[in-house]
Subunit: 343 residues, 4 copies
């Protein structure tokens, strides 16, 4: 069994990593850290793990982490970049679920994240952990940047269109909707159920940090500059992301269904569904799947793609496990074969 | 006091008409009909009206309706068009909350609603009941077609841009989100809470009946053909519509905030909010308000408009009351001055 | 117009006071305070009040408050007791929506609220503001303690049974359920939607502060010691309280429906419904009503009472307005005649 | 691999059986029936099963069912009793998830279910499928009656108290709360999200069919007549049941925690948690666990038990799998070892 560490175990992505790793046939959690909860039993903080996990939160100590085969950072932005150099030097693989290594352009990163990068030399080496585009690079990587939740849903929804140059890359609209767990477990009045329950709103309309990440990734796929307008929204539910994507078709009479089906034929975690199937976020709840539907409504020249994921799984912990499986040479689907919880 | 009738009193729009009319200073409900509930006390079917309403559901009888000053049709599509001719002949004003008179092009209407129009001669006379564009015509009208819920939110959000030719009218995206009450009170498994709770989805992606209505109305405002891609979504909440609208700006350096503020300066039920205010559906819950925010994110040449309404009020019963107030010569805000219920 | 002040205007009860006072025919808000938000426009913090309220949050300054006819304290426990003496001396009536003056036994109060009482001399004078038992005393009162939300629902549900000695007062069970707004607007992780959405739980099972308040009030009604077991629960919704009350009947063949109907015949805000009506919290949403149903299931000797209120209205701000109406000599229902928002 | 059949595959319990059986190491679904959906692919009706299940709904044909080792009936009440005799004769084991064989007293059953029993001769043989009391009998059984969802939560919560005669069996209160999936997938207006969302209510207060089932089962445990008052409530969430149970302690100074811990020490699916842990339904979501907390608040002589299950798992399909594992000689936890999905 490989031994993995989790830094930052009390947030939702840390908890979800634990949930998924409980069922993993080849890896087990050797240590989990939480500065705020040192000494507390994990199963006391996260009662759904009672009977499954017998760990205690520890202090994030580099020596202990260095004894792991791989360390997940389920921490706020700006944490992994401080630990990564020493861990990599010690031969440990590092997988950051936050944003520290997602953007290659450091100036762009520093502007959107309002801090100085602590490990700029590693940014180039880091592999963007979206297996559907970087599978081989992830296999050999020491350092992987797990994509954001919106970027995963949106990038997978647009890839087939941009790779085949079927759409105008400068006129893309991404209307994203996320359940509230996407905002994490911070104690903030704005995310109280009494504030966000039974209501719906857009947020960060002026600009969201995931936008440069998406534009950069899609730019590689399109081999030209991508201009995207992205507006995220908050849905009064706990889990799930849906992105509705709009773009102008460059040609007519393309079999969109076939373009998508072909692109993702071999992908274990992307499911292209018939255009007339109602694509609900619950159909992927708890799983690592991205389900996608594509159509050109009313033949107006605008392609509409729907893409749904579970923000905590394919949008965070599940994708991290998929990457870990690749990095450590396990079967890509190990620990990720559950059925969605629906209803 | 004017005496009004409500045909179809057991659905959500009928119930909401009753709620609002209870507090109206100049109009009272003379009769309310429901074929399925004849003889039942209204307050038994709708317990929130206990103590406020002492009516009994009656059979929809033309003679009794003809004794009203105005009759609301809170009925399925295809009902009002069968009653309207006789009632108008009897001197009664008619206000249809369904779709029978919303679209001027009868062939388009018949295609989208899959039935033959029973009163084509009245379609031209009917006034589209959006006071923000048709106030004077509504004042003199005998027959008013109350707009759909999505069309209200979307049209008000785009009007200032199209009237001033600031955007390309052929590249508009309307991403709509609605609470579940928008689907009415039909007994259908697809709308059970166990089906739509804690999940999010798009629906009618291939084409929604409100699309031709919106395109027609916006076309008059733009004085040219409008091409819109509209995708509605279902939000796991009861009330509220949010529409996020995307369009390409034709010029630069326009003060969008001022364009909207000026357009709606005199409108009692449109509130243009600062671009940085989080625009939540709950901020209009229970009220006849449409609140709108406008911005050009990251100066990319794409204008983003957010528009929120309560689908049962400004999107249905409240707008119907606003129209009634105009038709019967009352103050436009009579009965519509409540504060939103938030949280 | 009477001029009232609100101390603590940014919580849910403060906001709800504002919503209700906007429509009050005889009183208007002269000033509103919030230490944290001094200088901010109220309508910026509470967007649902845009267009209705033109106030700015002020510092809680005794001189300014002393210019009001009545001051509401929508503050944390322990605040009103520090302001009340000076305000009362200045001839201002004081209405505390928190717990400072709810319990007559000061030792009991200090044990449950873990602080020393700052104005013990006023506790005796304070009138418990449940008009259904203390209407006349409230009329003449300078200082009123507005009841808690659970105590309102539970006390009104049990009063008719205890006043007539129909039940064993030592074997009462109160199973309470509250929407999340009952917990206020504090930034705490435990109340995030991601924590409490799509889940249900009991809390404070070991003992809740409202229990001694309920036992004391019911004891006066029963004229003997009442022993109650009260367990509150958190419902994944925003507004509403339901209490299901269980007690052992002392005799048989009582017409429970009539006992309740008679007790509340003259009460404007208590509605005794037929036993077979589904009693939903939404039937009172936004209103000052308490609706009650009573029955003896299966003739087993146990009476079951259901009681529903809106925790922010009859459970807080609405009841405060009802008390204000009595204290200032207005009609008791002024400003409180809206219909529930349902659905 | 054992081959099992599912009769009635389109409801929530049928779907949940499929979800759980996908991961079962020893059993596979040989056929699934649905009269209404004959010929439809299961994964089209239940999209969360895309990629996992390649079955087509078939007509419920006795010959095909007779080829199974075990048949689950996830059907309305009154169905299994018509099929069971022939299947048992054919040597097939039968597990009914509905109520046909839950109550031994046939007259009681016929009164509560308003139909005549079609297989009274089998009622005695049928084993009540609660492994925590009938494990050995289930192992040898041909016919098992899977308990109702409320009875599972309530019985497990009261067993340790009744078996040890610690409480008065004639004064028990069970206040149950269920998510909406407990009502099944019937197209009925009363269960629309617009009807039950953002609201809370009791239902069936006059008497619920699960009450005689609970009283009978608890009576065997107590070896005396049990009188229980049970009031179920509907929670605006999809999954989960919480029951708060109240009973009068017969003696003092009992270590309740130890009584429960000892009773369930060997049970794989009952978890007795510390009394001060908030017991949330989400802590068991998707799992076969029943978590229980017990305490005597304020030493008042009343014991309060909280019991939570997932109504579709331990309250239906999961318990059915647990029973199947026992009946077919598999490990009791096979296919049931997942971690709860929380948040």
């Amino acid at each position: 069994m490989a031994k993995v560490g989790i830094v930052g175990g009390t947030g939702y992505t840390g908890a979800e990593l634990l949930r998924l790793l409980v069922g993993h046939p080849q890896a087990e959690v050797g240590l989990i850290t939480s500065r705020a909860e040192v000494g507390q039993r994990v199963a006391d903080a996260l009662p759904m793990l009672r009977g499954h996990v017998d760990l205690v939160f520890e202090d994030p100590d580099t020596a202990a982490l260095a004894a792991c085969d791989l360390v997940f950072f389920a921490t706020p932005n700006g944490t992994a970049m401080r630990y990564a150099p020493a861990l990599l030097d010690a031969g440990v693989r590092v997988l950051d679920l936050a944003a520290d290594f997602r953007i290659k352009d450091i100036a762009t990163w520093e502007r959107w994240y309002s801090m100085q990068h602590a490990a700029p030399a590693l940014v180039d080496e880091a592999v963007y952990g979206l297996p559907e585009i970087n599978r081989d690079a992830i296999r050999g990587a020491r350092l992987v940047a797990n994509p954001g939740c919106y970027p995963t849903a949106i990038t997978l929804g647009l890839l087939p269109l941009l790779e085949t140059a079927l759409i105008d890359p400068t006129r893309i609209i991404a209307d994203g909707k996320s359940g509230v767990s996407g905002a994490g477990r911070r104690a903030t009045a704005a995310l109280l159920m009494a504030e966000v329950g039974e209501s719906f709103k857009a947020y960060s309309v002026a600009g969201h940090r995931h936008e440069p990440e998406i534009e950069e990734t899609l730019g590689y796929a399109a081999r030209e500059r991508v201009r995207l307008t992205f507006v995220p929204h908050l849905v009064p539910m706990v889990r799930g992301i849906e992105a509705t994507l709009y773009a102008e078709l460059r040609g007519a009479d393309v079999d969109l269904q076939q373009v998508f089906a072909r692109r993702y034929a071999e992908e274990p975690f992307v499911d292209v569904v018939p255009a007339d199937l109602a694509l609900e976020t619950r159909s992927v709840r708890g799983t690592n799947l991205c389900r996608i539907a594509v159509t050109e409504p009313q033949r107006k020249g605008v392609v509409v793609v729907q893409s749904v994921i579970d923000n905590l799984v394919k949008g965070a912990a599940g994708q991290a496990l998929q990457n870990m499986n690749l990095m450590l040479g396990f079967a890509e689907t190990d620990g990720l074969d559950g059925v969605a919880l629906s209803p």
